[in-house]
């Protein structure tokens, strides 16, 4: 007897809506708990840094936010490409659900970077290669969101923004390396992180918060995709039969 599994069952918005609703607590609660644990370790267990004293602790937010802002762009572009190639509506919805969170993390990364830069480098902003490329990444997110917002037909919006995301992700490495090259050409590397290896508690805190951020992203993306599904499918019978829309 062959066990027939319909792999594509949850690629339909109507079935995924319920599944996403059930999954959200499994990501949201661990995210909240890990945030609390990670921040506790970061603030109370991790020792004071020899070079940077207390100011380095913003790293526990800054580094996970930076990592995720870059990862989310790739995942978003991947979903957008799936939606463009296979015409799966849910993939495009996931891409548009991820975009605001990605932009948020890019913004948090820039903001905390500025707060960290002031005591360390003596300036809120320096044209460091990493800062500059993070800023450009934020621009790319904003372009994606703006394009989607200005097209009324959701299908055209999905496909147009998917093409933009793909072009953007091809361009991201080129931008990254050109900014790095530009930076080394203009100013010698004035900014170097101290090469000392990290304390174990610092690693634990950063890793815990990174996982917490991941879980948060998944929970928020699922919640947002649920509202997008409701908005786009509002004319269908299954939405009208839902308990929460009655």
């Amino acid at each position: 007897m062959r066990l027939a599994i319909n792999w594509f069952k949850y690629s339909a918005p109507s079935t995924f809506y319920g599944l996403a609703g059930k999954l959200i607590p499994f990501f949201a609660w661990p995210a909240a708990i890990l945030f609390a644990v990670g921040l506790y370790i970061g603030f109370f267990v991790a020792p004071t840094d020899a070079v940077q004293s207390e100011a380095y602790r913003i790293m526990f937010i800054h580094v996970p936010a930076s990592i995720l802002s870059m990862f989310i762009y790739l995942i978003m572009a991947g979903y957008a490409a799936l939606g463009l190639i296979f015409k799966t509506r849910l993939s495009s919805m996931m891409a548009s659900a991820l975009a605001p969170t990605g932009a948020l993390f890019a913004f948090i990364s820039l903001w905390t970077g500025a707060l960290w830069g002031k005591p360390m480098w003596g300036a809120w902003w320096v044209w460091d290669a990493r800062l500059t490329s993070e800023l450009i990444l934020l621009f790319l997110y904003l372009g994606f969101i703006a394009l989607q917002a200005s097209i009324e037909d959701p299908r055209r919006a999905d496909r147009a923004s998917a093409l933009l995301a793909i072009v953007g992700s091809v361009n991201v490495p080129i931008i990254y390396y050109s900014v790095q090259w530009w930076n080394t050409l203009h100013q010698g590397s004035t900014i170097k992180y101290s090469g000392t290896s990290m304390h174990v508690a610092m690693q634990q805190s950063m890793f815990t918060i990174l996982v917490a951020c991941w879980l948060y992203v998944i929970a928020v993306a699922l919640a947002r995709v649920r509202t997008i599904i409701l908005e786009r499918e509002s004319n269908t019978q299954w939405v009208k039969d839902l308990a929460e829309t009655k």
């Binding site: 394009l147 200005s150 097209i151 147009a160 093409l163 072009v167 931008i175 050109s178 090259w181 050409l185």
Partner: protein, 227 residues
């Protein structure tokens, strides 16, 4: 009806777009005047010290060229879109990619090439050396077509949208940053006594890379917008 070769088609589209532009010369001139004006505003804003002007000349000219090319982007497809020509082009059995390439080349000849030709004159206002002027011109010659090509994708994606003009800049400007960096970097290299060849080679590489991919992507974008 005789069969049209790919390059015959390319020539036909370029000739048609140039002819249309010649019938309405004001459009071409506005881009050029905008470029000259923006560049001339900088000394008024930052002061007339020749040392500083010489230092920032390449960056100012490049940023102005970038903005001028953004300004003319919405025109690339919109007239053909409004009078239905674009629809006929898409229905035609010939390659849409090639037609888009033709429109890109025509757009560059109308908005990029005049900037390349006038840039040395503006460079003199900034007291640039003759060697730097040559490099600037060559860098613009390699870089401005890339701006037109990347811009074509943005113009195709925003076709017929309200507020398309601002939106297209928002989409395209971040993608043009590498061209800006290496274009201005080439002049910078000459000024600091280094060889500009590495910057120019990279610009050339961008040009070839964009030439291969962007007409196809812009054609896909047009298909999405025209559905």
């Amino acid at each position: 009806m005789n069969k049209l070769s790919l390059f015959g088609l390319l020539g036909l589209v370029i000739r048609r777009d140039l002819l249309l532009a010649m019938r309405r010369r004001a459009d071409v001139l506005t881009t050029l005047v905008f470029f000259v004006m923006v560049v001339s505003l900088f000394p008024l804003g930052v002061g007339p010290e020749p040392d500083m002007l010489r230092k920032m000349a390449a960056g100012v000219l490049w940023v102005a060229a970038l903005l001028a090319s953004m300004l003319s982007l919405p025109r690339m497809f919109s007239a053909d879109y409004l009078d239905g020509t674009l629809e006929q082009m898409m229905l035609a059995p010939q390659s849409l990619t090639m037609m888009v390439l033709g429109k890109i080349i025509a757009h560059w000849m109308l908005s990029g090439l005049p900037l390349v030709l006038i840039a040395p004159v503006l460079g003199l206002q900034f007291d640039m050396s003759s060697q730097a002027l040559w490099v600037l011109m060559f860098a613009l010659l390699l870089g401005t077509p890339v701006l037109s090509m990347i811009g074509a994708i943005g113009a195709a994606l925003t076709l017929g949208l309200r507020g398309g003009g601002v939106l297209v800049s928002l989409l395209v400007l971040p993608l043009c940053i590498p061209v800006l960096i290496f274009g201005a970097g080439a002049v910078e290299a000459v000024n600091s006594g280094m060889d500009a060849i590495s910057n120019l080679s990279l610009l050339g590489a961008f040009l070839l890379f964009a030439l291969v991919f962007t007409p196809f992507v812009a054609a896909q974008a047009l298909k999405i917008s025209m559905e």
